[in-house]
């Protein structure tokens, strides 16, 4: 009689047996010093269901093959001058925003998962976090390689790692990940593994990847396909983490709820950059931010939180506010970047008539009433030679680090201001969500590195705009200002004229 064939799960259990040995030279609590202080209680790590059952040798084989494919496409794109087949030269600004704003966060995610993988004492999450850490490292590398081709032709990309640590709006994603990485390993897993990689990831990657596809950026599309086979693993890990914590001990529920509330709101604020990209920066539009929010948060998130309610977990606090803000956030962000275009490493522009009509159609409740008149006025000022620049440094929210330009819930003509007192100082916030986060951990957020404060304190190269731009390594007159009149535009127009000539 032959032995009964093992199922995949049992086979994996045999292949990975003993990985979770008990240490003897040092007590386990000393080897894993960070997995208790957050208050999370784990009764039995062995209850963790490893949903992947992927061994490292299979991982390497698989990823190597995937990357061979990706680089073949990138080579072909470069050889065929794929950049000349984009929908418009403006599109490259989306790529710039991605490389400066998102790619460094892939690296931060790599570091964060490496930390979580080291400090969680359960073997299942440890292996999963290790693999995700490697995924994130591969992603930042492949993104840099993908986008390096654009760096041969377009401005604003070359100094992205340096800019990430210094430029005012890049402190928004940077501080988001700094916050997650300086938390304990469980908060990190909820913040990045669950809230970011599961709840909000579709709102980040789908817009960029579909935007790339619609606008002829086949290299970024290919990167997206390559990454998507990792993302599903990341999403599954996020789901496993939250289930595991909620099932292990009833005391975990209020802690997890607080983290879900916090990281939902922080994620929502950071995604404002994506909202602006979708509604304003894509020459060929995919869908509006509002539509993306309805599909990926309201519907998909709705069914998720309906299921999580069985554990007693509630919809994140201020989810209703975030949904209401989906009518406004892209417009308010674009207004900020338009006013401060001299200090940004990508180009801005006022939408043309066709684009304005599209926005009116997509935002029937808000656009014509609150935003279109402002855009038309600014366009007129441009025409009259009075292009509006805001030369005053803005007040920043102490939590999300975004300029305080957001409006009161239900009142889009009044800027929202919130404040808290801590140790004799006053701290300012853009919203109740950001204020709550500060009030929950004031000792942490009182240390925020706020770009505007740093300029005023003389820490950013000098007191004038050129001084600060120099310190940012932002090439004044090329990387910044409007698309119209930029070296990017000049080059693009040359290519198009050449193409017309060649075709004629």
């Amino acid at each position: 009689m032959t032995a009964k064939k093992l199922g995949l799960k049992q086979r994996y259990a045999h292949m990975t047996r003993g990985l979770d040995w008990e240490t003897t030279y040092q007590p386990m609590d000393k080897v894993f010093p960070y997995d208790t202080f957050e208050g999370i209680k784990i009764r039995d790590w062995s209850q963790w269901e490893d949903p992947f059952r992927l061994t490292m040798d299979a991982y390497w084989k698989f990823q190597a093959e995937k990357e061979r494919k990706l680089y073949a496409v990138l080579d072909a794109f470069a050889q065929n001058n794929g950049q000349t087949n984009l929908s418009d030269g403006r599109y490259v600004n989306v790529v710039k925003l991605f490389l400066t704003g998102i790619s460094p966060e892939e690296y931060q995610a790599h570091r964060g998962f490496a930390f979580a993988g080291r400090h969680l004492r359960g073997v299942g999450p440890r292996v999963a976090a290790q693999m995700q850490s490697l995924d994130e490292l591969r992603h930042v590398q492949t993104q840099i390689h993908t986008i390096s081709h654009y760096n041969k032709y377009f401005d604003g990309i070359g100094e992205f790692p340096h800019m990430h640590d210094r430029v005012w709006y890049l402190s928004v994603p940077k501080s988001f990940f700094d916050d997650a990485r300086t938390a304990g390993p469980f908060e990190y897993m909820i913040a990045i593994g669950f809230a970011f990689e599961y709840l909000l990831t579709n709102l980040l990657f789908v817009p960029f990847m579909s935007g790339a596809a619609y606008n002829g950026d086949m290299s970024t599309v290919t990167f997206g396909f390559s990454a998507q086979s990792d993302e599903s693993r990341h999403m599954t890990l996020g789901i496993e983490v939250i289930k595991f914590l909620l099932e292990q001990h009833p005391d975990n529920l209020p802690i997890v709820q607080k983290w879900v509330d916090k990281w939902f709101w922080r994620g929502h604020r950071m995604l404002g950059l994506v909202a602006m990209m979708m509604d304003y920066m894509l020459p060929k539009k995919v869908m509006s931010w509002k539509e993306a929010w309805d599909i990926y948060f309201t519907e998909a998130g709705g069914s998720l939180f309906q299921d999580l309610a069985r554990y007693g977990l509630k919809v994140p606090k201020y989810a209703d506010v975030a949904t209401a803000e989906a009518e406004h956030i892209s417009h308010q962000n674009w207004a900020v970047f338009y006013q401060y275009t001299h200090a940004a490493a990508f180009h801005t522009w006022m939408p043309d008539k066709e684009h304005l009509d599209w926005l009116s159609e997509k935002y029937p409740n808000t656009f014509d009433k609150y935003y279109r008149p402002r855009w038309e006025m600014w366009a007129q000022m441009e025409k009259d030679g009075k292009r509006f620049y805001n030369m005053a440094l803005p007040q920043l929210c102490n939590t999300c680090q975004i300029p305080m330009a957001y409006t009161e819930p239900g009142d889009p003509t009044t800027i929202a201001f919130r404040e808290s007192r801590f140790n004799g100082d006053t701290y300012h916030f853009c919203s109740d969500g950001c204020k709550d986060i500060f009030d929950g951990e004031p000792e942490k957020f009182a240390q925020s590195w706020l770009p505007v404060h740093q300029i005023f304190q003389g820490a950013c190269g000098g007191p004038t705009v050129p001084d600060v731009l120099n310190w940012y390594r932002l090439n004044n007159g090329a990387d910044n200002l409007d698309y119209v009149g930029s070296p990017d535009e000049k080059l693009w127009n040359q290519w198009m004229a050449g193409a017309v000539k060649a075709a004629g």
């Binding site: 086979s229 599954t236 309906q306």
Partner: protein, 354 residues
């Protein structure tokens, strides 16, 4: 178009797959859970190995399913269709309590029809020919003259009586099959059915106390399971909460009370959700999940729960169990769906089978 047969290892189950139907779709429709996420060939979560047979990969992304994997026989279940009968090895729970019993066709002679309540009939079929082998909790698919398609009904008797199948059938208003059984079926008729089917079984290997939560005729499977457990000398604590609307809807009470009297490890709790106030009903009032919470003190950890009944009852019970710290791994369900239940709410990937 003829359906092809798909065999799924390690369980050995065989299901039909229609022309153009994906492996994933066929499995999910047959009640077999395969891990999946994107549903259109991009993420690779549903990667499955084909051991035998020919398939078409469909729109599987070259990044989600590499060439070397294709050569090794891997497919993405969400895009792959069959071009011949096939066998796959799927990432499914190997369930040591489930036996592999081939499905067969049977003919049963209607030996008894009991009027259990005003709208529930008990039908006892004597099997002609070889007896039926089944596990308590499984169901049969009954074909009735003039009714399109088969209807699933749980077997209410213990497997020890292998020459009979007892079914408890509530009249679904406007239902063709249940209408036929209530209005036209008579003693001496012959009924065709096939079975046994389903994976709603007692997980005897788990040990520990058992909790059965049943709504209406959903008590038929638990009856078979409990009779089987007690015949087998089970000494674990067994609790049955059977919820119906009012006294007029309650049946099986005398039998369960006698069983509880004879076996101290069995507790029987009938619960009425819509009994008029001030009636002579001495027992529990309220919905099944509320009564279960009350009789178990709100804590379910350590139990294994078996839920059988209409979807809203199951949903409410799952929430109560989870709030009482009993989770997916220890909860088994059999949903009684009628044609009107087809539009289920959208699901997140949080739970596999609940």
């Amino acid at each position: 178009m003829s359906a092809r047969q798909l065999t799924i290892e390690p369980t050995g189950e065989t299901i039909p797959v229609a022309e153009g139907q994906t492996i994933l779709d066929a499995c999910l429709r047959a009640g077999l859970y395969l891990p999946h996420a994107c549903g259109h060939g991009l993420c690779g979560t549903c990667k499955t190995q084909v051991i035998d047979g020919e398939i078409d990969h469909g729109a599987a992304s070259p990044f989600a399913l590499m060439d070397f994997e294709r050569e090794d026989g891997f497919v993405l279940a969400c895009t792959a269709t069959l071009t011949s009968d096939a066998t796959i090895e799927a990432d499914m729970e190997d369930d040591s309590d489930a036996r592999r019993i081939p499905v067969r066709d049977f003919v049963g002679l209607v030996e008894a029809i009991d009027y259990l309540t005003h709208d529930v009939k008990g039908v006892r079929l004597a099997i002609e020919g070889a007896p039926i082998d089944f596990q308590a909790g499984q169901y049969v698919n009954v074909t009735l003259p003039g009714v399109d398609g088969a209807r699933a009904f749980s077997i209410a008797n213990a497997p020890s009586d292998s020459t009979h199948v007892e079914l408890q059938i509530r009249r679904v208003p406007g239902g063709a099959a249940t209408g036929y059984i209530h209005d036209r079926l008579k003693l001496g008729d012959r009924v065709s059915f096939s079975g046994p089917s389903g994976r709603f079984l007692v997980r005897k290997s788990r040990g520990g106390p058992l909790l059965f939560l049943a709504g209406g005729t959903g008590v038929s499977s638990p009856r078979a399971m409990i009779l089987d457990l007690i015949e087998g000398g089970c000494e674990e604590a067994i609790t049955l909460v059977h919820g119906v609307r009012a006294q007029a809807d309650l049946y099986g009470r005398a039998e369960f009370e006698a069983l509880a009297a004879a076996h101290p490890n069995f507790r029987y709790v009938p619960a009425l959700s819509n009994e008029p106030d001030g009636s002579d009903w001495p027992g529990e009032r309220g919905f099944v999940h509320d009564v279960a919470r009350r009789v178990c003190g709100g804590m379910f950890a350590g139990h294994t729960a078996y839920l059988c009944g209409p979807p809203p009852m199951i949903e409410a019970c799952i929430a109560a169990l989870m709030q009482g710290r009993l989770f997916e791994k220890h909860i088994f369900t059999e949903r009684f769906l009628t044609a009107s239940d087809c539009s289920e709410r959208p699901k997140s990937p949080l739970f596999r089978k609940l």
